[in-house]
Assembly symmetry: C2
Homo-oligomer: 612 residues x 2
């Protein structure tokens, strides 16, 4: 009998007429599509996955090797099934996966060099006296190794089937099929406040599990400067700072591995993103010279280390990589952002803005990148704001301000206990449009305020403020206010970022028309209202419809580099073509900053169309 098998891989489609009950893996391979089969079609490696329609009933081995969700989808191992009817067979496009950065989905090639191989040993004899190791090397996949792998091999020399894990030509580990289930890797985004650890399968690229925790270095200070001081002032302080982080990382990795029924020895590769000071403190390096002029880091380049270097308990034959930093204040997190948003993919420019206590701004095109760092202050994280708070339950995270009132939402719909960054931005933009706050940033004179807001207005200690929530409305059993000082803080924050953008555009000698895309990244970038970001003047208004929110860019960039080691070269290339502008002593920046503190004159332009 003849059956028709339609094969689909990415854009490729082939139709084959198969006579007799041929193994599906064979059909696929003969048609030249790429499908891995490390065990050579024995149904033991679990690599030859295909989506088969109609799906044959799964075999016992498939129940072991495939996840339930895969089985339900119709995924089977192609080597275990023969063609007994007309089929449509889809196989994944080898080595590509999508990674989510905020609202952006980026595709990432899988090319990190790590692989598992299943080998069967040929029987040694007087005619074949090759060493045990040679029997592995002769398979052609690897040709170097360490003593530990040789010792693992020695223990298994009586067995006729082993699993080898290799990185390119380097044999890293040998074990049994029961021991070695996956080759996993972890990408880490070390934030000053929060650390996120992503566990991924290095071969399939699939995300296995995620963990996040507060950076334990917080114990020595919330901001980097106080941590540097604390480390400097105690014996072995840098090492202590490092140990705090690394110990927590080790327990997080152990937890993630356990969750997936793995050992930490199954983790072979890690990539770290973070700002320059975080990367230094992760490595146990003194970062004092970054804190003080002329702000010199010890290391800025992408580097590969051994896991034992910083003391990470993963497979000792594994590798860890840190992303390169541009300078002391434009770190590896920003380079990870650049990778995630493919910053330099244009002949025009793309703009990248990381909004945080330090605002980092980068403007890049294919052959040139400009970058700078500005001190925006902690307002967007809730710092320095009367009722400011982080984006936690009860934070008022969005406002819709009208002349005659306002609507708002809070996180987890709890009673408001404070205002987080996105709420502050909405509030500032809304009060501007409603004429409550003027372009100079002052509250309007009480008598000129719309009725609703006049009722909410009061002065305390000579500082004007608006009662947003009454004692009853608030979750704190006291009213919550938004003050004149808070507006000033917002002006400082948005002014600094805007000044950074303007300085870079000046340096590149371009206007907004030469900018293709604007990427907002950083913890709160995903949640802010981009229209409001333009209305307060943080981002040039003409760019509003070119804004993309790629919040967790650093985590996405780190995951991408975890899966594709070639991105290290791309990152190095980004670093290479970046011109860093040191603004801390720039009078030009000071001038621009002062100019950009005030708000655009929105009232006349837009208020008529508002709903207030």
């Amino acid at each position: 009998m003849e059956f028709e098998v339609e094969l689909i891989q990415g854009e490729r489609k082939e139709t084959k007429n198969v006579s007799g009950s041929l193994p599906l893996l064979k059909v696929i391979q003969e048609s030249g599509l790429e499908l891995d089969s490390y065990c050579g079609g024995k149904g033991t490696c679990g690599k030859c996955k295909a989506l088969i329609k109609p799906a044959p009933s799964p075999k016992a081995r498939e129940r072991n090797l495939l996840e339930n969700s895969e089985l339900e989808e119709g995924i089977r191992l192609a080597c275990l099934h023969t063609v007994e009817e007309d089929l449509t067979v889809e196989i994944e496009k080898g080595g590509e996966i999508s990674i989510l950065a905020g609202e952006e989905e980026v595709s990432c090639e899988i090319d990190n060099g790590w692989n598992r191989y299943i080998y069967d040993f040929e029987e040694p004899s007087l005619e074949d006296q090759r060493s045990y190791l040679r029997r592995i090397f002769d398979r052609g996949d690897m040709e170097e190794t360490s003593l530990s792998a040789i010792k693992q091999l020695e223990k298994r020399r009586e067995e006729n089937e082993i699993v080898a894990v290799g990185k390119d030509e380097y044999l890293a580990r040998i074990g049994s099929q029961e021991e070695i289930l996956r080759a996993a890797g972890a990408a880490v985004d070390i934030g000053t406040t929060t650390v996120v650890v992503y566990l991924l399968d290095l071969e399939s690229g699939r995300e296995l599990a995620v963990d996040s925790f507060y950076n334990p270095q917080k114990e020595l200070g919330a901001d980097v400067i106080s941590r540097i001081q604390a480390a400097r002032d105690q014996k072995d302080g840098w090492r202590k700072l490092q140990r705090m982080l690394v110990e927590k990382l080790n327990s997080s990795l152990a937890g993630l591995a356990e969750k997936m029924d793995l050992e930490t020895d199954d983790i072979y590769r890690m990539v770290f993103a973070g700002n320059t000071i975080m990367l230094h403190s992760f490595l146990g390096l003194n970062s004092e010279d970054i804190a003080n002029s002329p702000f010199i880091p010890t290391i800025c380049d992408q580097q590969k280390f051994s896991p034992s270097d910083p003391g990470l308990d993963i497979n000792p034959q594994g590798e860890i990589e840190i992303l390169p930093s541009i300078s002391g204040y434009v770190g590896g997190d920003i380079v990870a952002d650049m990778l995630a948003v493919d910053l330099a993919d244009t002949e025009n420019y793309n703009l990248l803005v990381d909004i945080g206590t330090n605002g980092e701004v980068a403007l890049g095109k294919s052959d040139k990148i400009y970058a700078c760092s500005v001190a925006a202050g902690p307002s967007f994280e809730g710092g320095n704001i009367s009722e400011g708070m982080a984006a936690m339950p009860g934070a008022a995270d969005s406002f819709e301000v009208r002349k005659d009132g306002f609507d708002y939402t809070t996180i987890d719909a709890q009673k408001p206990v404070g205002i987080c960054g996105s709420g502050l931005l909405d509030l500032t933009a809304g009060l501007l449009k409603a004429g409550v706050v003027t372009a100079s940033g002052s509250f309007q004179d009480k008598e000129k305020l719309p009725d609703f807001w006049r009722r909410r207005y009061e002065r305390k200690n000579d500082i004007a403020r608006l009662k947003l929530f009454t004692e009853d409305e608030s979750g704190r059993e006291r009213p919550l206010f938004f003050t004149q000082k808070d507006v000033r803080q917002m002006q400082l924050a948005k002014g600094a970022i805007r000044a950074g953008i303007e300085i870079l555009m000046d340096r590149a000698e371009i206007g907004t028309q030469q900018i293709d895309e604007v990427y907002l990244v950083g913890g709160f970038a995903n949640y802010l209202d981009k229209r409001h970001a333009c209305e307060v003047g943080m981002i040039p208004e003409k760019l509003e419809d070119r804004i993309y929110q790629a919040g967790n860019g650093a985590g996405a960039g780190a995951r991408m580099m975890l899966l594709n080691e070639n991105l290290a070269d791309k990152a190095a290339d980004y670093k290479e073509k970046t011109e860093y502008l040191e603004l801390s002593t720039s009078t030009e920046f000071q001038q621009e900053f002062t100019d950009r503190m005030s708000f655009p004159k929105l009232e006349n332009k837009k208020i008529e169309t508002g709903t207030g």
Copy 2:
């Protein structure tokens, strides 16, 4: 004024007319000769050595940086002297050195990738915010490193001159000029009985110091088989076997370093030669499968390890390499021999014979090598011989046998206490020529013996023997005999080796005329009389005048590979083109061996020309 400077480097000669008092280093460099100058001519690195005639009086710095013997020879630092008169200047041919293997002197290129660099730091500033590490990498010599080197750099960031040690593009260490005096390496020949450690300067190739000691594994047995049994029979036995050796190696290295005013951290590279089982036991590997048919080693290829892998206390960023083995019984020591004698440098064949308990024989030409191992027994080391002993003080190490008597020498001219290998060979050959021993290996009938020997002849327990030394002559207060059994042992030993040679020649389908050179290697090869080796039939007689004695070939080969890492490829190539003949089950070998037990009929041929 104009002076004439004659420059000589190897074959090259240049004459320069120099006007004014130009620094000599400049004159040399401008004429295109190769002379290192890592410190850029500051007189601090000690690299720009030249033999100057007439020699200017040495400067204070030269007294520090050069050895006394060098100063006396007229060697100076070219950067510290200007041309003030007519000079002849000789500089060493960059990167070549001679190494002695027995009576053979082999030239070895220095190319192991290790170098010291002296850098001065440029002052960091807001205009030059490069990281500290980048300032080093930007010198163009290196571009990768480890965390430990970065931490060393961090400690020195305030200094303006540092010394960096690198392997190719890898920065391994950073320190001050006082800390880092040399980049040293060690080559080790791990013998079953004796271990020799050579400390060399990796940059100049010069030998700094040598140490040798008994292999501490002897405690578990004199021969490899008893050690294997001992290791197998106890918990963690392989590891214990390893630790015995490695601990002793560590203390030897520490001693050698101290002797040269170095630290063990100044040792960056080590190369190990040894037979396959010794290399396994050095690595802590189970060698049981080498001992039993089909004789499978765990590892036979040349491999690079980290010093921490076997637990060597040298610089942790260093590297260790083991020579490849051909098979379980033709080990890395034989491959080292091959390197030392350049076995495959001919279109005809060269023959290599390692005479020991296992006799290894290799026959090689440019594109093919044949090798085998034969069990020669311990006779040449003094084992199994009535009065046999190692080559220690009091051993009778040479005999000149006549019909009417004999002369002899002993080591250190002490009274004889036994006979070592070279003495046994002389004795056997001499007794043969004198007609005391017949071609079949039996003592001549008493009545047919020459007078002198008849007087020395007696039988005890039905075994014929000759009294060599009387109670008075002997250092043992009893007479010393040479027995019929001893002759049999010699026959076994030489017969096995000769059979190996014949088998290989058969396999290669050649006769002695196709053999260019014969290299005898192994502990006692330097001391034996090559004529006698032919007379007893151990080596084909026609080859006598093509025999070279390259005794410590394994040590020489290891030193060469230490200095020139490219020899690893050459060794791999040797291994690749070697066809190993397993003789343990070969009936052809058994036949040949039986045939070769008897002695050539020397009496008729040569006795007339003897002095007896």
